[in-house]
Amino acid sequence: MRARTRRLYTFGIAALLVIAAAALAFFALRENANLFYTPEILAEKGLPKEGREVKVGGWVEPGSLTYADGGATMRFTVIDNSPNTITVSFTGVAPDLFREGQGVVATGRFSPEGEFTARQLLAKHDENYQPRELKPLEAGG
């Protein structure tokens, strides 16, 4: 095979693969990039497509934490600077720095009724680290 033909083949195959990967990535990002919701954004934009995984962030409303399932599931309300709220339930161990009144970011899905079931919780760590998503909130508050 002449070098030019070979180069043509190599580039052709590589280009095909790149295009396939780009298409995959485009599709995967459209379906799987997690949009971020605060109570205010939720009130403004409405519920995301059903079954779509998203993130929810805000502060844990003081006094809202209750337990269900014999203690395995925690339920609490997330608030921000708007009058709206989101109810979040999470089965599992709370992150070490989870406190009422503190910032929290939850990953999970909304039910059609608008209740959020989290599969992962991240809490604000300390002065040096906090979920970036919460920064605009703090600035506003």
């Binding site: 095979m1 070098a3 070979r6 083949y9 190599t10 195959i13 590589a14 693969l17 790149v18 990967a21 995959l24 990535a25 599709f27 995967a28 990002l29 379906e31 799987n32 990039a33 997690n34 949009l35 971020f36 995984e53 993130k55 337990y67 399932d69 014999g70 203690g71 395995a72 599931t73 925690m74 089965t91 599992g92 161990v93 709370a94 070490d96 720095l97 990953t107 991240l122 300390d126 040096n128 680290y129 979920p131 970036r132 998503e133 605009p136």
Partner: protein
Amino acid sequence: MIELGHFAAFLALGLSLAQAVFGLKGERRLAGLAAVTGFGVMALSFLILIFAFMRSDFSVALVANNSHTLKPMVYKIAGAWGNHEGSMALWCLVTIGFGAIAAATMRTGRETFEARALGVQGMLAFGSLAYLLFASSPFLRLDPAPFQGAGLNPLLQDPALALHPPMLYLGYVGYSFVFALAAAGLMEGRIDRVWAKEARIWSLAAFAPLTLGIALGSYWAYYELGWGGWWFWDPVENASLMPWLIGAALLHSVIVTEKRESFAAWTALLAVLSFLFSILGAFLVRSGVLTSVHAFAVDPERGTLLLLGLLAYGGFALGLFAMRAPALTGGKPWQLFSREGALMANNVVLIVATLTVLLGTLFPLIAEAFGRTISVGEPYFNLTFVPILVLILILLPVVQAWAWGKADLKTWTRWAMGGAALTAVFLLLGVGVMSIPLGAAFGVAVGVWLVFGGVWEMKRRAMTLGRVFKMPARVWAMTLAHVGLGLFVIGAVIETSGRYEATLALAEGGTGTVAGWEITLKEVRAIEGPNWYADKAVLTACKGGASAELLPMKRFYPAAMMPTTETAIHKTGTGDLYVALGEQREVDGQARWVFRVYYNPMVDLLYFGVVLIGLGGLLAMWPEKRGLKPSEGAA
């Protein structure tokens, strides 16, 4: 005392400049001398820093901010690099160290080339030392000195994490010398057999520790974070995966350049990229531009400096590449279906896979520029990275037998039929008999296919059992790495698809069941360690005749005001029963403790596979015996 360390680091800065100047002028001996002396001086500086940590000298700001008298000695020492400034000092030491070892061992017979490589390495060392001394000095004093230090982040007080940064840095920084070799080769316009021999050794010297470093970090996250998983597609993890993938591509393409003098420009480009991606990794980790669960020593201003360094190095090397690459000549002719073609396919797939990781990692930044806050998680990577990589995993056992130049395709059909039969057996057994998901059965088949292919290739090359032990180290290395890859795939697929997790809320004396294990909470005790106190749960787990005691802890480090989770893991032989202790909850007037319980099958197999890949990388560095026919050397 610390002033001496500070002074020594300045001396090292001067020596690295001398190394750069002499090297680029072509003075091999003087550049080597500067490199070796610089290494001695920098090692002294770093030892003085460690010594300050050992003595808990709180008049040094870095020690005061990151250490504590009550900390065990081993973590006092590890604390020296468990923070931004100290780890940069380690980065500098390793950069200079690679140059010094190269200066002492390089024997290519090309004096100007070696001098220039040392010169470029001197430039890189100068850059990182300047950054250390002027933007993140670990040698600053604190006046007045506090009586007690602030303590090391308790999450980092762990044996795996004490070793993780040095290992990772040997990998990241190891690519600096690969970069230097590429730059020197491009300056000379000679990327040939001799160049590739040298570049291959150094890319292995970076690849093996990088592999082990990533494994250590992942293992730490597995048992310390209490989330039961071993890879979260977190930006910080991706930052280490990308140079690893580029490094793996480089390892394969440099062989073609070494054996056939083909792929010269491509190999040089990969050599440059491997280091650029290492710096990109450091930038992503340090700048805090991305949300990470492992965020560590984050500082946006330093991030800007790292980005400038990345642009400067990248501009220099890629500019050099653009000028010189077109003049590089191709090697021996080859057909598409040949070992060259196979290794080219390997490279294309690895690079495309790297790009999908890069896109997934940076996409939140791009979206943020357009005013939308989003994040990209595991589902994206499972849909892109995994299928792309599976492509090459399926091909590997078939194409590794192909000859240089032109492959004999007669065995191709036999391989294809063998692979199809193996897959059919696994799908039938897995989906039909054991009713596991289709994807998982297919994944395990791919892993077994790789292990089988690795062993088969050894058999093909050795012909007889007796000759297996006489095979060159490189063939053994390849077999180890490919079998390790297969074991990793099997472990990863089984762990991911077979993981079982549940949450239990138990009062003392209470019982719950997870994955067939009956778990009883006997009591929760308050205990105290050298620099922490903790709640320690005593659990018994029974399944059939087997029983185990599990003692998960929740520690609190008062110096850092930080809690940590100490998981309890019971090895069952085929998997891990894994328990993390959560907080105490008031439920119906009763105090209950929350536990996150996982059953993680085949986790050890997964790590064993990765360690085999790393060991394969080390073994491949073994000097080759003379007089071997080139055809017997491994690919």
